[in-house]
Amino acid sequence: MSDRQVASSLRMIVLIIVSLFAASLPAAAQAVRITFVRLTSAAHDAYLDPMTAAFEKANPAVAVESIKVPTGGYEAIAARALLSAAAGTAPDVVQVGWHLTRTFVESGRAVALDAFMKADRAFANDSLLPAMLELGKVDGRYYLVPIGISTPAMFINEEAFLKAGLDPKIPPKTWAETRAAAERLKAAGFEGVLWGWSITGNWIFQTMLESAGGRMASDDGFTVTFNREPGVRVAEYLADLAANKLMPVTDQTVQLFSSGRLGMLIDSSFQRVNLPRASKFPVRMVSIPTPDGRPGRLPAGGNGVMVLSQDVTRLQAAWRFSRFVTEPPVSRIVGENSGYTPANQSVIAALRKQYATDANFQTQLTDASRVVPWHSWPGPNGARIAQILRDAQQAFLLGRKAPKAALDEAAAQVTPLLKP
């Protein structure tokens, strides 16, 4: 460990000990204000707003100021939170996508929560899905408390399918089948398929890459491998779809689908609740197509909360908020109001039983059980790297660059940013 890490660890330990001690004191009479940096959109507000309200109701001494970040996804939240932290006004709780956990930890701002988890008897970590808890672990310490995970999934506009002569109950399972379905949809006057290339953190690209047998980088994370043959295969497939107008090149995924003009959307299972609500036609959610139809690797999307507080009283309140996120009432809010699979096992079991006839929900729960980690870039340049990859995809989708050239250039740009 470097000197800096030792110093910051010691600081954390002292802070944690002091605040655990403070926890044993009676609650302060004044209201404590904690700041919570989070996403916002119809889909995200559906679980975050009730969650925040429920917390404030259960903890009248704590007020939560939500700092909502509307665009830019998890990268924008990380930028906001780290900028504030650097400016001396660190937010207390931050909603962090799995792939950025490392970025926060390496910035030295994240508070390790192990001590809190052990000392706080109200934290029932044995009722949480172990796999999910593990996703929040970096270098052997827990930093992130899970809200929920999502998986890549395909949404089908049933009306469009029927008009195109396709059967929504027999969805495409391979990339080739997807292409064929898109052609039928295009002939019927719809936009064919939109693979969510623009989704935060290059998540869909990674999913397709891993299903094709590739990886974003080597095991140590310092050698880029996304421009090898599997990556080129993914890029060529997508570029071909775009060139033949079978895939519109846009980042307005939800808007385009809910307007009824798009036949198939590959997005996050998270949209399971929001998309049908926003659409005036039946929506079916199925597993994401893979190159050969066999079940592929599903990187876990979703997020959790991390604590960045440096102030002792606020640290306590921030921990209480984080813990609250895993309790059954909130897990239920998350599970019902969004397509995230929450962390609480008993809640998952209850939901599975309650919604036995909801095909979309069953797909989500089944897929959720076989997730793999979302790739996390080492070092502080996660946001910049995500932008480079996004630009590369846009380049070959718009036909400005050849797929292989675009990926190679991106690899060349990303490699120096990974310096250990």
Binding site: L82, L83, R109, S259, Q394, R400
Partner: protein, 308 residues
């Protein structure tokens, strides 16, 4: 015997005068002090601080700061992002500056003959300048929308293929330039109008009597006498265009694929989204040099210009 000077100093009147002078000096310094405190802190000090910042490899929030000398500048020179931003800024400045100056001049000349309605028209053309750019850029974003924007609707109605104005990297710059010209046309027009009013009508009447046609009058009388105003307008428009940010941020956020990324936007992204403070400082220094260069050119050009 004391010298006359010492003798003078000894006189009570001289002492009072000295005291009066001192008080006056004190008042003078006191009056300018607050302003200068702000200048030193937020302007001169800031610019000075840029130098050490740009010479270090430092990221906002990091605790390590390594001195890299001209490393950031070297990174700048080989950075395709930087040259892209510079070239985009140049294209944008020339296009928006040139078009808004040309249109502004034409409108000003036309409005001179508009008689009583001149005031009303002035107001109409100046409206885009008065309206908050960020809000109007949102309106333009809607107008340019590929699917439901009115521009494409008009094109469809005219039988043309709709275009992806803001998502196609070949068209985005044109869209952004259009908005830039729209918002600056009234500004240049007003400046030219003010300049035109200073040109005495007698000159035109005399020329008309001599048989000079309208275009001839323009080139021989109007244009030369307008040159101080024209110079001023060119400088102002250059400075405004080089620093354009609001409309571009809202319309395209520098994209697609960096097609509309100008220097101000690059600075924002590198400095406040990627936190590469050292690199951003180097960009700021270059930006400063650019703007200082323009101002110096202005002073040089002033000597070549006619004054009435």
């Amino acid at each position: 015997m004391s010298s006359s000077l010492a003798g003078q100093a000894a006189l009570p009147g001289a002492r009072l005068r000295r005291q009066a002078n001192l008080t006056r000096y004190l008042v003078g310094y006191l009056f300018i002090l607050p302003a200068f405190i702000f200048f030193v802190v937020f302007k001169f000090g800031a610019v000075a601080y840029l130098i050490p910042l740009s010479l270090a490899d430092w990221r906002l929030g990091s605790t390590t700061r390594a001195f890299v000398g001209v490393g950031n500048y070297r990174k700048l020179i080989v950075s395709p992002e930087f040259w892209n931003a510079l070239s985009n800024t140049g294209i944008y400045t020339v296009a928006v500056g040139g078009l808004s100056i040309a249109l502004g001049l034409v409108l000003a000349l036309a409005l001179r003959r508009a008689g009583r309605l001149q005031g009303l028209y002035q107001a109409v053309f100046f409206l885009p300048v008065a309206a908050t750019m960020s809000a109007m850029a949102v309106v333009w974003r809607f107008i340019f929308d590929t699917n439901i924007g009115v521009l494409n609707a008009l094109m469809r109605a005219a039988g043309m293929e709709p275009l992806s104005w803001l998502q196609d990297n070949r068209l985005a710059m044109a869209a952004v330039v259009l908005v830039g010209v729209w918002s600056n046309m009234g500004y240049t027009m007003v400046l030219f109008l003010a300049g035109l009013t200073t040109i005495s009508r007698d000159l035109h009447e005399a020329a008309a009597i001599d048989g000079a046609s309208a275009p001839r009058q323009f080139w021989s009388i109007t244009w030369p006498l307008l040159s101080p105003v024209t110079l001023f307008v060119v400088v102002i428009m250059t400075l405004r265009s080089v620093q354009a940010f609001d409309s571009i941020k809202v319309l395209t956020d520098g994209g697609p694929l960096g097609a509309t990324q100008v220097l101000s936007h690059l600075l924002y992204r590198v400095g406040f989204q990627y936190f590469d403070t050292g690199f951003a400082s180097a960009i700021s220094v270059v930006f400063f040099a650019l703007l200082a260069g323009v101002t110096l050119l202005q002073m040089r050009a002033e000597r070549l210009v006619h004054y009435q």
